[in-house]
Amino acid sequence: MQTLYDKLWNQHVVPTESTDVGGMSLIYIDRHLVHEVTSPQAFESLKLAGRKPWRLSSILAVADHNVPTTDRSQGIHDPLSRLQVDTLDQNCDELGITQFKMYDLRQGIVHVIGPEQGATIPGMTVVCGDSHTSTHGAFACLAFGIGTSEVEHVLATQCLLMKKSKTLRILVEGQLGLGVTAKDIALAIIGKIGTAGGNGHAIEFAGSAIRTLSMEGRMTLCNMAIEAGARAGMVAVDDVTIDYIKGRPFAPQGEMWERAVAYWRTLHSDPDAAFDQTVILNATQIKPQVTWGTSPEMVVDIDGRVPDPEYVTDELKRKDIQLALNYMGLKANTPIQQITIDKVFIGSCTNSRIEDLRSAAQVVKDKRIASNVKLALVVPGSGLVKQQAEQEGLDKIFMAAGFEWREPGCSMCLAMNDDRLNPGERCASTSNRNFEGRQGPGGRTHLVSPAMAAAAAITGHFVDVRELKDSLS
């Protein structure tokens, strides 16, 4: 009886005599995704050591963190950002690595384009020098973020030396309410187990509520496994998985497709498989979530209030809450719905896929952003998501409401390009981290779902999207 994680792990252990020392195994890597921020030092060291990439066909590269989301015809004006993107281009050209360059329609956030291209398929080990690589676990992959030394290690050897994780099953049972999304499940889980709750574990998300999620929703959920401390999150294969992959450019075709699907159908935990830990959530009780602090675990229901440190007995925790309140410019006990915002960001590897844009567009249709909202951005996850959205007329809905419709990239999730918060500005953001300074020095981030961000844009403060007329389908 094996868990999904056990199956994926066992499939990738390269048998050796000596590397089992100290509980480490040599794990073969099927797919290596590369972006411009965490790769230049790895390519440089590889070259200095006189080594070459082990298997070029395993690598797919794209620049996403530094690219401008405004008009790209003039290139990148920040010389440091430009150098980083140029360095990726040069490395890929020199070594013959497949790359979608900035002007390619297929360019986008690395964790959006992998699945979109069918470059992420079930049963793979997927790595990238980026913690949100956990996203790809939605396809029953063992997918996790690595540091630059490991990027070089995978380039040189196609393998990583790893220690097996423990397993944590998160069961979400029951039907999600209308207006409650995968993002709310993710935040509710983190609120329950904390940002260190998954440390040392690989998470499998299971239960009836997970089975009803689209692939976009499952990607949102697995994306935030790292915010719960788990390097990898995953979901078993079902028809939803297989239907999503079929016909995508990198996906297997014809007879090969049938063989692949037969194997993929085995990628689930056996009925009696034992997990090290299990956590259970009731989907019917999950409400739209809003973070109030500087860690994703600092989260409450939309009808909740900012916590009061006075009532917290643990001294370290009380201090953390006080520091977060100071940074966020919030008073204890403030109702969440009274918090007004300055900016709205709809995008990031968490929530920039077509389903996310559709749900936000439905909320803003025929409405205008509130007068106190200085800037509302929609940044599609890829050129193809953008094109699809434009074919559906979503761009016009957003722009008519006062949103800016941008080019794809990581954008204001981490503000390495020009999209950022100014000191003190407060943002309703569909991204994944509300850390101090994440969206710009002094910026204040509240994490929400796309529908909730859209609702906040319209009203100028946080509001329960379920109470807005015509905003749900």
């Binding site: 030092q41 260190a196 370290l316 020095p441």
Partner: protein, 211 residues
């Protein structure tokens, strides 16, 4: 990678839980294509009153006197005491690079985020997990005694205090071996190149759609 055997060094306490890698090294400094020079921007938003950008000379900036690393008694510290879940968030190896470049050789905390913990070993920075109760004790000791030092002995896997208390810690055999000898992990893995090739060929036959 730099070898690590034993170290006796000055200790600095960072009394905050969930310190994320964005705080350790903010994103504007990730635009470098080099591995070095990050130490001057370590904890940039906490350490300086003015806003830092890549390329700035931090010695000419305005330090925040309230931040612990800026206090005169902690100058030259090589051991960082931290709280739970240190290094959470982004996988950026720039975070351990910045800590090492600043002068740290050891970080002691009750728990670390997985990716950060792993990244530290790759560059010869030693993350040590000790119980919260021991950390509480060390936080008190360092506050009470200016110039407080700890001795870290990797071979014997123990941290010793000046008053001869000694705390054992766990470390994976393989990681310890690599640190003690400063080994290049890629070189070690490439010793198995034939086995990797054989595995790959078998995989190519069994699951050709992956290639």
């Amino acid at each position: 990678m730099e070898k690590f055997h034993t170290l006796t060094g000055l200790v600095v306490p960072l009394d905050r839980a969930n310190v994320d890698t964005d705080a350790i090294i903010p994103k504007q400094f990730l635009k470098s294509i080099k591995r070095s020079g990050f130490g001057q921007y370590l904890f940039d938003e906490w350490r300086f009153l003015d806003h830092g950008e890549s390329g700035m000379d931090s010695s000419k900036r305005q330090p925040d006197p309230g931040f612990v690393l800026n206090q005169p008694r902690y100058q030259g510290a090589q051991i960082l005491l931290a709280r739970a879940n240190f290094g959470c968030g982004s996988s950026r190896e720039h975070a351990p690079w910045a800590l090492q470049d600043y002068g740290f050789r050891v970080i002691i905390a009750p728990s670390f985020a997985d990716i950060f913990f792993n990244n530290c070993f790759k560059i010869g920075l030693l993350p040590i997990v000790l119980d919260t109760a021991i950390l509480d004790l060390l936080f008190v000791s360092v506050a009470m005694h200016p110039g407080y030092q700890l001795t870290v002995d990797l071979q014997n896997q123990c941290v010793s205090t000046p008053d001869s208390n000694s705390f054992e810690f766990e470390v994976d055999t393989f990681r310890k071996h690599c640190l003690l000898h400063g080994l290049d992990e890629i070189g070690l893995t490439l010793q198995h190149a034939d086995k990797i090739k054989a595995f790959e060929n078998k995989r190519r036959q069994e699951q050709p759609w992956l290639f």
